[in-house]
Symmetry: C2
Subunit: 351 residues, 2 copies
């Protein structure tokens, strides 16, 4: 695993220990308005010489080239050198954007990520993907670049709104579907009001291990890593449409709806067990907010045609034969996709 | 060597052969206004399905984030996929900026570079550095990213203005000083009116080999690669000041003046032979335009403090004990630097 992830119940101690290992001239701290308010107090930052801090507004809508340009301007004007370290404290927006900024500033400075949302802890923490949204498309611009260290402390989740807990949990469900080793049942039984407690840290660790194992086999997403896009081909289209329409939609919510559609495609094309699909659909339906259509099916299909995985005409999915048995590069037809999209509304309508 | 460089007298044939090796969905061509006018005709592009072309205005002043954003917008709107290939035809500005754009678009698409200036052929063609100018600083933002292929055809140099020939020749002098194997004498005898002829292609090839050998030992510039910055610590400061002042100054001109100052520092601190220094200074003085001060010495010193190589207080130089014997991480004092800067004016004044 190219990323060094530390699971800890005391981030301040972990951070101090790790930063002592990294010879650095100066530390730059990037946070968003939420983490600046709720999280920085837990970092023990008075123990380090933090040169400068920058706080960006929270929210995916700020994951833009403009914000990255502001980060570069801040680093450049502050005289940050190539051996500076950028400490990204926040959700995926902060680590994606801070990671991208760091990977290009003076052709690359190091960064240390402290993910403070469940989504960032189970997903953005591993894999070395950085990026920003551009031209209305998610992560259209970015790099593959690994942070020096990632510190995962689920104590931060105590102040996380429940909708955001659910957003991260969708990625955990996805990892469990890809792993297929009983981890799925463990998650379906989990008490989501206890995500900041010690036992849940072990579920996070298991979830990260699923992703890490896949990324390790294919760091640059030439093959099997595409499996991690399960639920995301439809999910990204839903999320992009929501952004374009100014509607509030969390990444994991879009992925949860996307997984319903893509499990349906898996049933239809790959022989995934229909009853198992129905059970997962009911769970998602009972757990997540009802799906509010963010765009017409044709518009969502149009967005899927922009998906980075597509290497020829059509839309490229990663689908499942069964939990743990995935297949990448499954191209589906327009008709199949439109049919699958109906299942999402169905999942909400017929509750 | 991570870059595959092909030296050829018939770029069209070389390009056709190489592109046939690269499975790609679509070809995107980036050129500047000069290369669009003088060079595209020699590429045999009618043999390929070039999906789209984009022509950017020529000149370092356009190597900006705004231009990169336009390139990204163009690729994104055209529906370029992750397996697209960006063909950069032009000088260092085109390959630096096109290379940067490609390395971040959808987290990295491939590119093929066809350098059409001597500077780009001997310098930007190898080493995987991409970048743009930002906050008034050269290459402040960029990545390390290698093109799939580089095609070097010195036939393009037939239409290159002589000042630009000299600009590239300065980097060849630098490589020769770093190699120290008699290649310097060969260059000092070269007929610069014949750069587009076959014999000169071999000098280009030798020059590239010097750089390639150094880059191979240290791709990410942790150590010996810094030697390639010889002449550039002062040179970049001069060039940055010229850009800021709206004065016309070619990169290699700034490097030629920079080498005078840094050879002087080499004499003063590293025991470089003074007579040899004087001979090279006279050659540069006789060959290049007289140095027109672009900024006061204190201002140039201030710019050097921003140099990416600096890892502590002070200015970090790569200096020479003798041709072929370089040393990196030589920090010089403000006083030494101000004294060396006088040598550049001296070189022009006392001609």
């Amino acid at each position: 695993m190219n990323t060094n992830i530390v699971f800890t119940r005391d981030c301040a101690v972990g951070l101090k220990e790790k930063l002592e290992d990294v010879p650095f001239a100066s530390l730059y701290l990037l946070a968003d308005s939420n983490t600046s308010r709720f999280c920085l107090g837990h970092l023990g930052l008075d123990m380090f010489p933090v040169a400068r801090r920058m706080v960006i507004p929270a929210g995916e809508g700020n994951k833009t080239l403009d914000t990255v340009a502001r980060i570069w301007q801040w680093l450049s004007v502050s005289g940050a050198r190539r051996n500076a370290v950028l400490l990204n404290v926040g959700g995926g927006v902060v680590s994606d954007m801070g990671g991208f900024a760091a990977s290009c500033f003076k052709r690359g400075i190091r960064c240390v990520n402290v993910p403070t949302t469940l989504l960032a802890q189970v997903d953005a923490s591993v894999g070395g993907k950085t990026g920003i949204d551009f031209n209305g498309l998610k992560n259209e611009i970015g790099t593959f670049s690994f942070p020096q260290w990632v510190l995962v402390d689920n104590g931060f989740l105590a102040t996380l709104p429940f909708r955001q807990v659910l957003s991260g949990f969708a990625e955990m469900l996805k990892h469990a579907l890809l792993a297929g080793n009983g981890h799925l049942e463990e998650l379906l039984r989990a008490d989501l009001s206890q995500v900041a407690e010690e036992p849940f840290l072990h579920l996070i660790e298991k979830s990260v291990a699923v992703k890490a194992a896949i990324v390790e086999r294919d760091p640059e997403e030439q093959g099997v890593r595409k499996a991690l896009n399960f639920g995301h081909t439809v999910g990204h289209a839903i999320e992009s449409a929501a952004i374009a329409g100014g509607m509030e939609m969390y990444h994991g919510e879009a992925v949860a709806y996307g997984m319903v559609a893509e499990l349906y495609l898996s049933v239809r094309k790959m022989g995934f067990d229909r009853q198992r699909y129905e059970a997962i659909r009911r769970f998602i339906q009972a757990t997540y907010l009802p799906y509010v259509p963010v765009a017409g099916a044709e518009e969502l299909y149009g967005l899927m045609l922009h998906d980075k995985k597509n290497e020829r005409e059509g839309v490229n999915f990663s689908l499942l034969r069964a939990p743990g048995l995935f297949e990448v590069n499954c191209y589906c037809s327009r008709e199949e996709i439109l049919e699958a999209l109906k299942e999402i509304s169905h999942a909400s309508d017929n509750s």
